[in-house]
């Protein structure tokens, strides 16, 4: 069993922000998706991320504010799951509710074992 990081991008939708009911129904599907994975013992953990942030870069450790990028590029959350391989990780990701949106995106990355 390998571990995969799912990065969620996009998925912001003005309709959703204006309707608490629609938002709640959407969150209920996140709940469903995640608890299904939990029942299969696939879920390791994960959190949504707020829009605010700081960036540090380079040897000078330059600090700047926020991701400040377009909504669809902005990482809105992550999940760590267990899967036998990419095929299964992708299959599991297909049900992610973020893909209810045209601009929704799930990036599936395998956790790399560092052999030193």
């Amino acid at each position: 069993m390998k571990e995969y990081l799912l990065l969620f991008r996009g998925g912001d939708n003005p309709d959703m922000q204006n309707s608490p009911n629609a938002f709640q129904a959407h969150m209920a599907r996140w709940m469903q998706w995640m608890s299904d994975m939990q029942k299969q013992g696939r879920l390791v953990g994960g959190q949504p991320l707020s829009q605010e942030g700081k960036q540090l870069s380079g040897t000078n450790k330059v600090i700047s504010d926020g991701p400040f990028m377009e909504g669809k590029e902005f990482v809105g959350g992550y999940l760590l799951i267990k899967a036998t391989g990419f095929d299964e990780a992708v299959l599991l990701s297909k049900n992610c509710p973020i893909l209810e949106f045209e601009n929704g995106n799930v990036e599936v990355r395998e956790i790399q074992m560092l052999h030193m």
């Binding site: 969150m27 209920a28 996140w30 709940m31 995640m34 608890s35 013992g41 994960g46 949504p48 959350g77």
Partner: protein, 403 residues
């Protein structure tokens, strides 16, 4: 509330659950003093406790996390699922399941019976340490130690908080019933307290058993039988003592005072208990109690039937105390002489020598055989063996009548 919170934090963190409950009540007192009682106080309490639980989880996520492996509580660690999962855990039927799970956790076979009852009173009945100490005539310190040891046990053994698998439900439920019956008996005939009847313990025991009878996982015939038994017994509680707390013997009780509703309730449970092929000791004890309840006058008691039930009871679960009780039925049916023969032949008579009721019955038998001197001796022996003031008074009265 403690049971839901223990489900959330895990039995290892029972103290955290208790802290949250305590904080909730402190908040309630503070807020209600200023704003008055809310429309729905219990909903208010649950909401506050829920929010506090969310705070605790957010603050201590790391500490809890390693315990969440493969557990649905894992969903409490992610903000994606924390609130819906939390809401779900506070649903009425889930709360009931949780109380039941808590009961099973409290009655884990690894915990001694007295610690089981202590824990049940503390977590499920909401008794304070001081109240429990009072019920058992012991110090708060002792109770705290008992609770501490049990919590350590939960932590060390990682006791899961769940209703047992179908296969184990029967056996584990019997352990729970046993504790409930002990609790009930402590209320019905208190050995530790100055009051002979502790209505609060009786009510709690019946409430817990009712919970078992209402949950589909635990609707076993013996659950209903115990419910019937406790209903019949508690129907008679009020008539068992005088206003001064003195004991009134079964034969002298005012049967009009017996609670007809509780007897009817006992009957209903008895009918449900009759399904299946199971015959438990609770069935038989309930049947005996029923015979007493339906006798309009003490002379109407169907002692022959009662004797038969005792015979079955002894076959099902041999026990010197049951044999002793059978002697009373023998005395009623065949007379004191025969009862004496049976009494002398009780298999494990040694165990009874230190039991006051054994000597009290000897006294009664001697009295019926007109051996007054021996009767008084036996009653005196009985007095020296009981802790209860009410029982001592009753026995002294008996001696007074003989002199």
């Amino acid at each position: 509330m403690v049971s839901v919170l223990s489900k959330i934090f895990g039995t290892e963190y029972l103290e955290t659950a208790e802290d949250v409950v305590q904080q909730t009540f402190i908040d309630a007192i503070r807020v209600w003093k200023i704003k008055g009682l809310p429309d729905n106080p219990s909903a208010w309490l649950f909401r506050v406790a829920k929010n506090k639980a969310i705070d605790v989880l957010r603050k201590n996520k790391q500490a809890f996390q390693h315990d969440f492996n493969g557990d649905e509580r894992l969903l409490l660690t992610s903000e994606y699922t924390l609130i819906p999962t939390m809401e779900n855990l506070w649903r009425e039927e889930i709360i009931q399941d949780n109380q039941l799970s808590m009961m099973f956790a409290c009655c884990n076979p690894g915990i001694s019976p007295e610690n089981q009852i202590t824990l049940i009173l503390k977590t499920l009945c909401g008794f304070s340490t001081a109240e429990i100490a009072k019920s058992f005539l012991t110090s708060e310190d002792t109770i705290s130690k008992r609770l501490y040891r049990t919590k350590e046990f939960f932590r060390a053994e990682k006791i899961k908080f769940e209703i047992p698998e179908e296969k184990a439900v029967k056996e584990r439920t019997n352990a729970v019933l046993n504790s409930i019956y002990l609790l009930f008996n402590e209320g019905y005939n208190s050995t530790h307290s100055n009051e002979i009847i502790r209505r609060d313990l009786i009510d709690e025991a019946m409430l817990l058993c009712k919970l078992l009878s209402e949950n589909k996982h635990t609707q076993l015939p013996e659950v209903f039988a115990l419910m019937a038994l406790m209903s019949f017994h508690s129907a008679r509680t009020e008539s068992r003592i005088t206003a001064d707390g003195d004991i009134i013997l079964l034969g002298d009780q005012d049967r009009k005072k017996w609670d007809k509703d509780l007897i009817a309730q006992g009957n209903r449970y008895m009918n449900i208990a009759a399904f299946g092929t199971e015959l438990s000791t609770y069935h038989l004890e309930a049947a005996i109690a029923y015979q007493h309840c339906i006798a309009v006058h003490v002379d109407d008691t169907n002692w022959k039937q009662i004797l038969l039930y005792y015979e079955w009871l002894i076959q099902l679960a041999p026990n010197p105390v049951t044999e002793l009780n059978r002697c009373i039925a023998v005395m009623q049916v065949y007379g004191a002489k025969e009862a004496f023969i049976i009494l002398e032949n009780i298999s494990d008579k040694k165990k009874l020598e230190s039991y006051y009721l054994y000597h009290s019955l000897c006294g009664e038998l001697y009295h019926r055989l007109h051996a007054t001197h021996n009767a008084i001796q036996s009653f005196e022996k009985a007095i020296s063996l009981t802790q209860s003031e009410a029982e001592k008074n009753m026995l002294r009265k008996r001696i007074g009548e003989l002199m």
